[in-house]
């Protein structure tokens, strides 16, 4: 932890800010932090108040709760009402509103069995302790969390736990970035790439950013100095017209990522088209269980479908996730949509960009 504090050193941050200003040399820059944890870190550390006005930071589609589509929320809310089903989930999902504003918290209050777990493996304990019920783990997250879910599936197999399954709504980051860049209105000049996801992926899957789109991508850590260093490198690449994908977080991320975790992922999952809230369907951007594990696939085993859900009237989460709009510019922000009465998940998730703006900006 002392190491972490070294990356919060005010003098170090000041010198990095000076370096950033030199690289910017008066020009403005629009960078996107892909990951919700970065968004929160920028606010929580007070970095936002120190960044030059010419830096616009856009919050990307990297908060797993934010990008969970209404249809997917509707599907797990459907499960939460069923007999003999226990939902096991990370805490973030409890308050996410589905169609009609109902959430797992409401379902729980009405008698649904919803258990917060701290690790997917905890869901196996639940399954072992409730042999008459089916425990469904809500598999929501990116490349970071999916390997632990794969490890849980492996353990369930080894322990012959037949009453455990996963509703896999996992999403993959690189296809989403490609979709953003294919949008003619995309205003992103550089990506602050997610540190956690990159521990698994390494650098190679982001190579297309510089190669195909001429856009810099820098993998960054989550302490203020990490973020500032990544911003400096992005600004310098833009200044020098030399876009590249580089690793500014080598203490946690190896350039090759974690091949063992990727192998485990591939053993259980395969890419599939997926729905992203506010963005729509992105080809091959999700993970579904391979056919040989259908018995552990909640979609198949519990005969689930993703219903057609019309977009919420007035909700601009999609524009926020694509970096087209800053949260305070949404007409619902802070009025109809607040953390107490969230309209869209960007306001409900602890890592959501709207929630971060609402929570941390002095008014």
């Amino acid at each position: 932890m002392q190491l972490e504090q070294a990356f919060q050193d005010p003098q170090l941050c000041r010198s990095l800010l000076d370096r950033l200003n030199r690289a910017l040399d008066g020009r403005s820059m629009r960078f996107m932090e892909v990951c919700g944890t970065h968004t929160v870190a920028i606010f929580q550390s007070g970095l936002r108040s120190l960044l030059p006005d010419t830096v616009a930071h856009l919050s990307g589609p990297g908060c797993p709760v934010c990008v969970t589509h209404d249809a997917e929320v509707a599907a797990f809310l459907d499960l939460a009402g069923r007999d003999n089903v226990i939902i096991a989930t990370f805490g973030d999902l409890l308050r996410v509103p589905g169609p009609g504003g109902r959430s797992l918290k409401h379902a729980q209050a009405q008698g649904a069995r919803v258990e917060i777990v701290y690790s997917p493996l905890d869901a196996l304990t639940l399954a072992a302790n409730n042999p008459g019920d089916i425990v469904v783990f809500l598999g929501i997250g990116f490349e970071t969390t999916a390997p632990t879910v794969a490890a849980t599936l492996l353990t369930a197999r080894q322990r012959k736990l037949e009453n455990f399954c996963v509703l896999s709504l996992h999403k993959l980051v690189p296809p989403a970035l490609r979709t953003l860049l294919d949008d003619s209105q995309c205003a992103v000049e550089a990506f602050l790439l997610p540190g956690h996801v990159s521990t698994i992926l390494g650098l190679e899957p982001y190579g297309f950013l510089a190669k195909d789109y001429h856009v810099p991508g820098v993998v960054g850590g989550f302490q203020p100095a990490d973020i500032l260093l990544a911003l400096c490198m992005m600004a310098e690449q833009i200044r020098d017209n030399a876009p590249a994908v580089v690793n500014a977080y080598p203490r946690a991320v190896g350039d090759a990522g974690n091949p063992r975790a990727r192998a485990l992922l591939e053993q259980f999952f395969m890419p599939a088209d997926a729905l992203w809230r506010g963005i729509g369907s992105i080809p091959q951007s999700g993970l579904t269980l391979r056919p040989e594990y259908e018995d552990m696939n909640a979609m198949v085993r519990l005969d689930l479908t993703l219903p057609d859900v019309p977009p919420l009237p007035g909700c601009r989460c999609g524009d926020v996730l694509k970096g087209r709009m800053a949260p305070p510019d949404c007409p619902l922000f802070g009025k109809k949509c607040t953390p107490a009465t969230p309209v869209g998940p960007c306001m409900v998730s602890t890592e959501g960009s709207c929630a971060a703006y609402f929570k941390y900006s002095e008014r």
């Binding site: 932890m1 972490e4 504090q5 919060q8 050193d9 005010p10 941050c13 000041r14 944890t37 606010f43 929580q44 550390s45 007070g46 970095l47 936002r48 108040s49 120190l50 797993p64 709760v65 990370f90 805490g91 973030d92 999902l93 409890l94 308050r95 917060i116 701290y118 929501i140 997250g141 990116f142 970071t144 969390t145 956690h196 203020p224 953390p339 107490a340 602890t350 890592e351 929570k359 941390y360 900006s361 002095e362 008014r363």
Partner: protein
């Protein structure tokens, strides 16, 4: 006695008498309680009086640093003390679930008695209900406290003034993280323990030493951040905190970092916030540090003019809002 509680113990008959005399009277022994009239006759208490009530429903019942029993005494004693009062008497109502282990009940009762002795209060009246299995979560305890107000002026959340110093009596978040860790079986949280403690003696010393104290509050549920927001709204002032000055134990900081929680929103059960005029700050800090429960007391911020909100000067010199918590803190996905 049996080894677990039966519904009979709530019948009001002999089974109830046995439970009361063998468990509660034995531990809480004092002449006022033992009179067994419908109410306690208090003849030696002088107004103005402060009164507070709270109900305790914590899971697990016993955790590192305390139990629901000690908590039920400390919580109410502290609430009374925060008004500048000397807590004197407590009432205590139990709602017990059929099947509760009597050994557990005994341990909790003994903890309550020990906590009351340390605080110098007597438990003088009480009530016991036993409900069928499933109707409550093992044991709920309500305590009501009454105390003699001696502070003048009486500290209040409405009395913070621009320029005042904001002090805390120690590190934040110990209780909240301990209970969460015990409940969820988070084995890596081995170095955390609840700070649950009676603060009334320390408060008395602060009030005598600092002479003028504007606000005293214990930052329980919602933690330091939420409590300071309440004070900012009540007093219509701003509060500016220095992040680097706020004490948080290393184990709590690490645990929170892992779980995606903020220690400034976690409950404390043995800490107080003290807001005093600038020239009284040193005296108040010295008084806190004389108490075993205030050794890490420190100044964390200043009351300011302006909007009723709490801001944080961060470690790197930035500034951001420290708002009120919305709902419970939930561990994050990644």
């Amino acid at each position: 006695m049996e080894d677990c509680l039966l519904l009979d113990a709530g019948s009001g008959g002999r089974a109830s008498q046995r439970l009361i005399s063998q468990c509660f009277f034995r531990h809480f022994a004092n002449p006022l309680l033992e009179r067994m009239d419908d109410a306690a006759l208090l003849t030696d208490i002088h107004g103005p009086l402060a009164m507070s009530t709270d109900s305790y429903t914590v899971t697990p019942l016993i955790f590192p640093g305390g139990s629901i029993g000690s908590l039920a005494v400390h919580g109410t004693v502290n609430d009374v003390a925060m008004l500048g009062a000397r807590p004197r008497y407590l009432s205590c109502a139990f709602i017990l679930e059929e099947g509760l282990s009597l050994e557990t009940l005994e341990r909790i009762t003994a903890d309550m008695a020990a906590a009351a002795r340390e605080a110098g209060v007597h438990i003088v009246t009480g009530d016991t209900k036993v409900v069928p299995r499933g109707a409550c979560d093992k044991i709920f305890i309500n305590t009501t406290g009454i105390g003699e107000v001696f502070a003048n002026p009486v500290p209040s959340g409405h009395s913070a003034r621009p320029g005042d110093a904001v002090l805390v009596s120690g590190a934040m978040g110990d209780h909240g993280l301990t209970v969460m860790g015990s409940r969820e079986g988070l084995s890596f949280l081995t170095d955390v323990a609840s700070d649950s403690a009676p603060l009334n003696h320390m408060i008395e010393d602060i009030l005598q030493s600092a002479e003028e104290v504007h606000v005293l509050r214990d930052p329980t549920r919602g933690g330091l951040a939420t409590t300071l927001n309440e004070i900012a709204e009540q007093s219509q002032v701003g509060i500016l905190l220095e992040e680097t000055a706020i004490p948080v134990h290393e184990a709590v900081r690490n645990g929170c970092s892992f779980l995606g929680l903020d220690p400034l929103y976690l409950a404390n059960e043995g800490k107080c916030i003290c807001i005093v005029p600038e020239d009284k700050a040193e005296a108040a800090l010295e008084a806190m540090r004389r108490s075993p429960y205030g050794k890490e007391a420190t100044r964390v911020g200043t009351v300011t003019e302006g909007k009723a909100q709490v801001s944080l000067q961060t470690r790197i010199g930035g500034r951001r809002l420290l708002g009120m918590l919305e709902g419970a803190q939930l561990p994050r996905i990644c």
